[in-house]
């Protein structure tokens, strides 16, 4: 009896302690790593295509800090921000962590160290800083660039009697070409809007062809005029594309990742607004359509007189947690993770457009060459400037636009209201 009581008391104590530990409130500061150990969270390091990248970065860091061990923890991307949020909240977060640029990192800057002082030397070599900045401070070193080129299938262009070397320059030409493509038995646009991400790509891809340069820059700077007729027009074109049957069928129930991309790369649709890095990008499409048949076009001009540009931002980047023991060492790890050698490996293996603009991409085919050429004149993507709350709302409203249960004016009005409070 006594022995048993002892055991249960021990068990109870252990369980109680475990319970207390996990329930520490906000403001706790013990982080995952210690002074000689850094814990890195990401959703990339587990992938085979990122192996060489991680190894190169680790080797670079080991040269600078041989006494510090680095542990990579690959989390599932679906759960990443849920897990990270909970870990930060309970003070058990990692020292260095991967972020998507834009809202995901901006929403969490209160848990991050401003890195401007640590990464000053990389400023010129790397592109895409804006997506990791808030109020003039930088919170992560960019690894890849993410953007939204409009890809097209040259074989389908030929089949429809169009010149694959001369993609449409204006919206009217685009509509005419779509007509020809549809007659040839293919969809004009492969669209997957189940997650509500289709509208984000649409907004960013067509933004520079619709908004004036001034409106565009104001939008990025946070002075967004939702009453502008040009802003309204982007959503109107979205609705038109749906109403005119340009999109692949069942867009609202088609997952963008990766059903709509599969639709494009299997030659069933002539265009898709894709990505530069990760998935749904030139390397994926090259594999199926061959590099010779994959084209990248500038957005067809909607407003006369504007010059379309490539929408891109920092895609993913590593930030440093405020709770880390030694921010200098952690920042050095970020520098290693964004070193030219490591990023070159990432480009070669995963096809990601690296943030390092000095990397040579000439052997990747014409599509990637067009993309990289577009980066020089490119601008931040419009949707990345919006908060995750507004993006979530925009996703749902875009589905309503496609199903016809809301008007364009109502959409713009609701988005304006959401953007104001965000």
């Amino acid at each position: 009896m006594k022995v048993r009581t002892g055991w249960s008391a021990l068990l109870v104590t252990a369980l109680t302690l475990a319970g207390c530990g996990s329930a520490s409130g906000p403001g706790a500061t013990n982080s995952g790593g210690s002074a000689d150990r850094l814990v890195v969270w990401d959703w990339k390091s587990g992938e085979p295509s990122a192996k060489a990248y991680v190894e190169k970065a680790k080797a670079d860091f080991a040269r600078k800090h041989p006494d510090v061990t680095v542990e990579f923890v690959a989390q599932p991307f679906d759960q990443y921000y849920t897990l990270l949020g909970a870990a930060i909240q309970s003070g058990k977060g990692p020292d260095v962590m991967l972020f998507n640029g834009g809202g995901q990192i901006r929403d969490r800057v209160d848990a991050l160290v401003p890195l401007d002082g640590y990464l000053a030397e990389d400023r010129g070599r790397l592109a895409g800083w804006d997506a990791f900045s808030k109020d003039g401070k930088t919170y992560a070193g960019p690894v890849t660039l993410q953007g939204h080129p409009i890809y097209y299938n040259k074989a389908l262009y030929r089949k429809a009697g169009l010149d694959p070397a001369a993609p449409p320059g204006s919206w009217d030409e685009f509509l005419a070409d779509c007509n020809a493509v549809t007659k040839a038995g293919a969809d004009c646009i492969a669209l997957g809007n189940k997650e509500g991400a289709g509208i984000q790509f649409w907004l960013s891809a067509l933004g520079s062809a619709t908004l004036t340069a001034q409106e565009y820059d104001d939008w990025i700077a946070g002075k967004r005029d939702w009453r502008s007729p040009h802003v309204r027009q982007i959503f109107d074109l979205w609705k038109q594309a749906g109403d005119k049957g340009l999109n692949s069928d069942g867009a609202n129930s088609t997952a963008m990742f990766n059903d709509s991309f599969a639709h494009f790369q299997s030659g069933k649709a002539a265009h898709v607004i894709g990505l530069m890095s990760d998935v749904g990008h030139w390397k994926d499409f090259n594999e199926f359509l061959t590099p010779g048949e994959l084209g990248v076009m500038a957005a067809p001009t909607v407003t006369t007189g504007v010059t379309p540009s490539m929408p891109f931002d920092g895609g993913i980047g590593y930030g440093v947690a405020k709770a880390t023991k030694n921010p200098q060492v952690a920042a050095d790890l970020v520098r290693s993770l964004t070193s030219t050698d490591a990023l070159k490996a990432f480009f070669t293996e995963a096809g990601a457009i690296a943030a390092d603009t000095t990397i040579d991409v000439s052997d990747g085919g014409p599509a990637v060459a067009t993309i990289v050429a577009g980066i020089k004149t490119g601008k931040p993507a419009l949707h990345v400037a919006l908060s995750s709350k507004t993006l979530d709302l925009m996703g749902r409203l875009s589905q309503q636009l496609l199903s016809g249960s809301i008007t364009v004016d109502q959409v713009v009005q609701q988005l304006a209201a959401s953007d104001k409070t965000a």
Partner: protein, 319 residues
């Protein structure tokens, strides 16, 4: 943790059903025994009680407390009922709640299907042995796999629409039409889980007195009449039990299916409170708002749980 706080109340409320707490009648003045003997019951209960207290009730209270604080810049500061006000004002949360209502309304169908199929098996329709195992098969699949399978089947260019097309019916966007999607998901959920209820029904049938059925047959009763006048009254307790467990299943375990099949869409029409909590906590970085939503879900589950206890108690009195 915040997301998880939706779970404990369910289990806590369900506890009286599965494990009655030993309630020893203690005589006020007993012959004084040893201390160990008097303490024994408390020591024996202690692990369970403390685990519930430390790992369920305490986090639950923390969560409720957390729901009265702010997010982002107001992190950690008390904001009163702001989060709850925001919830009431959020059309998405209202959709989630009304979907809960819809689930409750669909409950009779979800119970009738396994009940009817179990009846057929009990009445030994041809091939009943095969059906018994086939019906149970989906219950062993994970919701993610079921969701993925039905994503393919219900896709706009999927096999189901191809079959409909062959019959001359225009294709239906099962998961893309906001008026249909929730029914599609509930339908799949029922398909995936009715096997368990079927087994419970079959167990119930095992206690049914065959003499009653024989008597009804001798009297020349038709099948619907046999079901209505003999089977349903005899299985009243089983039906009640299935009602309660199916309801809990619908309210607490549709997350996986929703996540895979619709992600709350289209147009937010398939949101359920659980999914809302997950989105606010993980995607929108609003843990405090998510806590408030968890608290609301907890209250709903508490009401459901209490109703369930009352129902089972009343059923017990009938015996």
């Amino acid at each position: 943790m915040r997301t998880g706080s939706a779970q404990p109340p369910v289990r806590a409320a369900a506890a009286p059903r599965t494990g009655p707490v030993p309630h020893e009648p203690v005589a006020p003045r007993r012959v004084p025994g040893s201390w160990a003997e008097r303490l024994a019951p408390f020591v024996l209960i202690a692990p369970t009680a403390l685990v519930i207290l430390a790992l369920r009730l305490y986090p639950l209270l923390l969560g409720v407390n957390f729901s009265f604080t702010g997010d982002g810049e107001r992190n950690g500061t008390a904001v009163g009922l702001d989060n709850y006000r925001e919830l009431i004002g959020d059309p998405l949360f209202r959709t989630a709640l009304s979907n809960v209502g819809l689930l409750v309304a669909l409950l009779p169908i979800a119970v009738a299907i396994p009940g009817l199929l179990a009846t057929f098996i009990y009445l030994r329709v041809p091939g009943h042995r095969l059906y018994r195992s086939v019906y149970f098969f989906p219950a062993v699949l994970s919701p993610v796999i079921i969701g993925a399978i039905f994503n393919l089947l219900l896709a706009f260019d999927g096999p189901l629409n191809a079959v409909l097309g062959g019959l001359g019916i225009s294709p239906v966007d099962w998961l893309g039409d906001p008026d249909i999607a929730i029914f599609a998901v509930v339908g799949v959920h029922v398909w995936a889980t009715f096997g368990m209820a079927l087994v419970v029904f079959l167990a119930g049938f095992a206690t049914l007195d065959p003499a009653l059925l024989d008597a009804a047959r001798v009297d020349g009763a038709s099948l619907p009449r046999v079901i209505w006048h003999v089977i349903i009254p005899s299985l009243a307790r089983t039906i009640q039990f299935v009602f309660v467990t199916t309801m809990i299943g619908m309210l607490t375990s549709m997350f996986g299916l929703l996540f895979v099949m619709t992600s709350g869409g289209p147009e937010g029409s398939t949101y359920l409170p659980e999914y809302y909590i997950w989105t606010q906590q993980g995607q929108m970085n609003r843990p405090a708002l998510a806590s408030a939503a968890s608290t609301v879900l907890f209250v709903i589950m508490l009401v459901v749980g209490l109703l369930q206890v009352t129902l089972l108690q009343r059923a017990g009195k009938d015996d």
